[in-house]
């Protein structure tokens, strides 16, 4: 009888000191199916994939390919078995062409010379067959994220991989691009490729996957046919309890204008062109305003301009009636601005500092923490940090003295949120506060944002996540190529309309062409 499984991981157990990362996990990928792997952060998905790629050796369990037991000692073995992966963060050489990236490492060579023509033909044939539109000669740095991802997929296909792993592939895509990717995945599976789709977005799993395996806290929860299940059931399997999808919030009438931005123009640090072009909007107390848009349309630079991380080229920023356009970062902070930064490792934390030292990052200079002589008041710092840890339920190995680096992403983010919210800011700027977090943590952070709003503070949320954009804010502003192209009411709009604005197809404020 022919074996129906392309790859089987049976009874995999992987133990690290003090923690069982994978506890008797079984994952069976059928030939030609799309199989979703679902689980929160820390559920053991990455460990399981690392075992599959030979980065870790499991204590127990076996791996079978086409019914035959195999031993995967290192990533090369995995490649030889035809296993390929599209990583969440692409592994592409920016200044190389699409073609060069695809053949990298497996370059066709004749007498020491590269045979790019052959390679190009093969790539074009593959691209045709699976509907993966790419321009082989374009440089990676010049093409869209969607095309970069297609390049990654072609890399796997070029290597004749049979088992394709997609690690959270939709995080960086627009709704339209996501739809395209889903179609590509369906095409691939129709051609007999087996796909493992790692995700924690339930709607995508429902839309594209045939079966779904759920992990929770290192344990195998079960494998279900997607057609026979529902979203709430999947989320219950993943989190272990019922999760509220809808963000609960009462209607509120916004109060005074807290943040007033007029004609703001900010140059990009990378290419010196204006990344934010003549943007005007305001945020009032008691409301959450969301800046939506695809990554790289000026949101980052807008926040840099508002928070003072980069100088603005033109326009004014007024907070609580005071012009802060050229105020220092510290002035903005002590005057009531809090900032949950987009990149928690780059800006939000000093990773080699302890948790307590990170907790006082915005207030270490206050008399509570620094004596007149300039020495730190360690006892006060400790008790303050412990208060925040307790209040915001920040979990870590050794409490206040844990190095921030050794904490999980969700708890790092909680630490930043605790620090920024405890300042009781009049204006909270939260940039992608839920990026990379699991359902439970997202739910928690959304509640905190709403609590800020209900306490009468102004919240400016910058988000790339469609669900977040639709559920959390009171108003949506869509940014496209550095301009605000639409203001929407989340209650009256839908994902499709939002997608049209985000991709630039619709623009309510298009400036009249200069006469």
């Amino acid at each position: 009888m022919e074996n129906q499984y392309a790859i089987e991981m049976l009874g995999i157990t992987k133990i690290f000191p003090g923690i069982i990362a994978n506890d008797d996990i079984t994952l069976q990928l059928k030939k030609g199916e799309i199989h979703a792997l679902l689980g929160e952060n820390g559920a053991g998905k990455s460990t399981l994939m690392s075992v599959l790629f030979g980065l870790y050796q499991p204590e127990k369990g076996i791996i079978k390919k086409d019914g035959r037991q195999v031993k995967i000692q290192n990533p090369n073995d995995a490649n030889d078995l035809g296993i390929g992966m599209v990583h969440q963060h692409f592994k592409l050489v920016e200044c190389f062409s699409v073609l060069d990236n695809i053949i990298l490492g497996v370059e066709p060579v004749k007498n020491g010379f590269l045979q790019k023509k052959e390679a190009k033909e093969k790539i074009l044939a593959l691209s045709e067959k699976y509907g993966l539109k790419v321009d082989p000669d374009a440089l990676i740095e010049d093409i869209t994220v969607g095309m970069q991802q297609r390049t990654e997929i072609l890399k796997m296909l070029y290597r004749d991989n049979e088992i394709l792993i997609f690690d959270e592939p939709t995080a960086v895509l627009t709704p339209q691009e996501i739809e395209e990717l889903m179609q590509i995945m369906r095409n691939l599976s129709a051609e007999g490729k087996s796909i493992l789709f790692i995700s924690h977005k339930l709607n995508e799993i429902m839309a594209v996957a045939d079966r779904c395996t759920v992990l929770r806290k290192g344990k195998y929860i079960g494998t279900v046919n997607v057609a026979d299940t529902t979203m709430p059931e999947l989320s219950r399997m993943m989190v272990g309890r019922d999760v509220e999808f809808a963000v609960k919030k009462e209607d509120r009438t916004p109060g005074d204008v807290i943040l007033d931005v007029k004609g703001l123009t900010v140059a990009s640090k990378l290419h010196k062109n204006n990344a934010v072009k003549d943007v005007s909007f305001n945020v009032r107390s008691g409301e959450i305003v969301c800046i939506a848009g695809i990554d790289g349309n000026g949101q980052t630079e807008l926040v840099y301009g508002l928070t003072g991380l980069e100088p603005v080229k033109a326009g004014t920023v007024i907070m609580k009636g005071k012009d802060i356009t050229h105020a220092s970062i510290r002035e903005r902070s002590v005057n009531g601005m809090s900032h949950i930064p987009e990149d928690r490792h780059k800006h939000g934390l000093v990773l080699d500092y302890s948790l307590e030292d990170n907790m006082i990052l915005q207030r270490y200079f206050e008399p509570e923490f620094t004596s007149k002589a300039g020495t730190l008041k360690r006892a006060n710092i400790r008790s303050y940090a412990e208060k925040l840890i307790d209040q915001y339920d920040v979990r870590s190995g050794q409490g206040a003295i844990t190095k921030a680096r050794s904490m999980s992403g969700g708890n790092q983010q909680k630490a930043i949120i605790a620090r920024e919210l405890d300042k009781a800011p009049d204006l909270l700027i939260a940039v992608q506060p839920t990026r990379g977090l699991d359902v439970g943590a997202i739910e928690y952070i959304h509640k905190q944002l709403v609590a800020q709003r209900d306490a009468g503070h102004a919240v400016l949320l910058v988000s790339l996540e469609l669900e977040e954009v639709m559920t959390v804010p009171d108003r949506i502003l869509v940014m496209y190529e550095g301009e605000i192209v639409g203001e929407l009411d989340p209650k009256k709009t839908n994902a499709e309309e939002l997608g049209l604005y985000m991709s630039g197809a619709k623009n309510d404020f298009r400036k009249e062409a200069a006469v």
């Binding site: 991380l309 300039g374 730190l376």
Partner: protein, 369 residues
């Protein structure tokens, strides 16, 4: 995890252990080189190096030579403090050698040319070296010039400036500067009776207790003050420092100013003892600054650790002078001590190695349980 292992996991224990391993490795590598050059004398040469002043049977004489070793330890310690202070703030101040040279130049010129008292000489040495550090800091902050590049360039600049300036106060018949003892007694660092302790070694001065005091001060500033908190945050993550409103640019400049001042003071602590005169024709910066790098790493980048590592490195360097020159060429002492010092720089690598072994061990054990 058993007791022994958690003991090995302690950062302090790891640092000490890796420093010791590095020392043993360095001595071993030096021995191998000696074996290759001439196997007959290798063992006794190694013993000579390690023994240094202990070779003298009389305790009194040994004490006097121990004095010589610590006279040169003080400037080395200052240079390693300079390196580690900058390193904690994420800067690699390789310009320490040039700052040391500049400090020597100003200290000696102030002593010999202007006939100023020692504390003014030391202050001028400090200020000149600090200015040199400020140049690197300014270039780093505002022009994005790597401090290593500007530091190396400035090393040459300050060497030849010092040579040029000190030529005015050199002895007429030799390339060396005049002896302070003969020219300006007030420029000599005070002994406060320490010379008596070391069997009338006139070079033992307040430089030694002062350097030790400064190590403790550096530790205090880095670990206990708001200033140190800011500087280290800037060093660990410049972007986060900026994000929370610290002045990361002026912090960078300030760090290199302090680092330079430490090196300059180190030069004053040495040349104002009269132990050595500056050779105005020398074509490379004194090795003191570079040895400071090794001392900083060997000391586990801890200001107090630097006291012991500086002493050890100086001990080896001095000991090298006793190697039998009839069997080995005269450069051998420098060669061997530099090999040992070179391997001493591998402390961080050793630490990594120890942790890797521990992790591998844990993983194995985890499998069995």
């Amino acid at each position: 995890m058993n007791k022994k292992e958690s003991f090995l996991r302690k950062p302090a224990v790891q640092t000490l252990l890796s420093s010791l391993i590095c020392i043993v490795l360095g001595l071993f590598a030096g021995f191998i080189v000696l074996l290759f050059i001439d196997a007959r004398g290798a063992a006794s040469a190694m013993v000579d190096i390690i023994r240094n002043f202990f070779r003298y049977p009389s305790a009194a004489v040994a004490l006097k030579y121990f004095g010589n070793t610590i006279v040169k330890t003080a400037p080395l310690l200052m240079c390693s403090l300079s390196i580690l202070f900058a390193y904690k703030v994420g800067l690699f101040n390789i310009g320490v050698a040039g700052q040391y040279a500049m400090g020597a130049g100003l200290a000696l010129y102030a002593a010999l040319g202007w006939q100023l008292p020692w504390y003014v000489c030391a202050l001028l040495a400090c200020v000149s070296a600090a200015l040199l550090g400020a140049i690197s800091g300014f270039l780093k902050s505002y022009c994005n010039v790597n401090e290593v590049i500007s530091g190396i360039m400035l090393n040459w600049l300050s060497l030849y400036t010092t040579n040029m300036v000190l030529t005015k106060v050199k002895e007429t018949t030799s390339p060396y500067t005049k002896n302070i003892v003969n020219v300006n007694h007030s420029a000599l660092l005070p002994n406060i009776g320490l010379n008596k302790v070391f069997n009338n070694n006139q070079y033992v001065t307040i430089a030694i207790p002062l350097a030790i005091l400064l190590s403790v001060l550096v530790w205090f500033i880095l670990e206990k003050t708001k200033f140190g908190y800011e500087l280290k945050a800037t060093g660990y993550n410049k972007n986060a420092a900026k994000y929370c409103g610290m002045k990361e640019k002026s912090n960078t400049i300030l760090t290199l100013i302090i680092s330079g001042a430490l090196a300059g003071l180190g030069a004053a602590m040495f040349y104002l003892t009269g132990y050595e005169q500056w050779q105005c024709t020398q074509s490379s910066v004194p090795g003191m600054g570079f040895n400071g790098i090794a001392a900083a790493f060997l000391g586990g980048l801890h200001p107090v650790g630097a006291i012991f590592s500086s002493l050890f490195i100086q001990h080896i360097t001095e000991g090298g002078a006793y190697v039998d020159k009839t069997m080995y060429c005269s450069q051998i002492s420098d060669l061997i001590s530099s090999i040992i010092i070179y391997l001493c720089g591998f402390v961080l690598f050793m630490k990594l190695f120890i942790n890797k072994r521990l992790n591998a061990h844990d993983e194995k054990k985890g499998g069995k349980s």
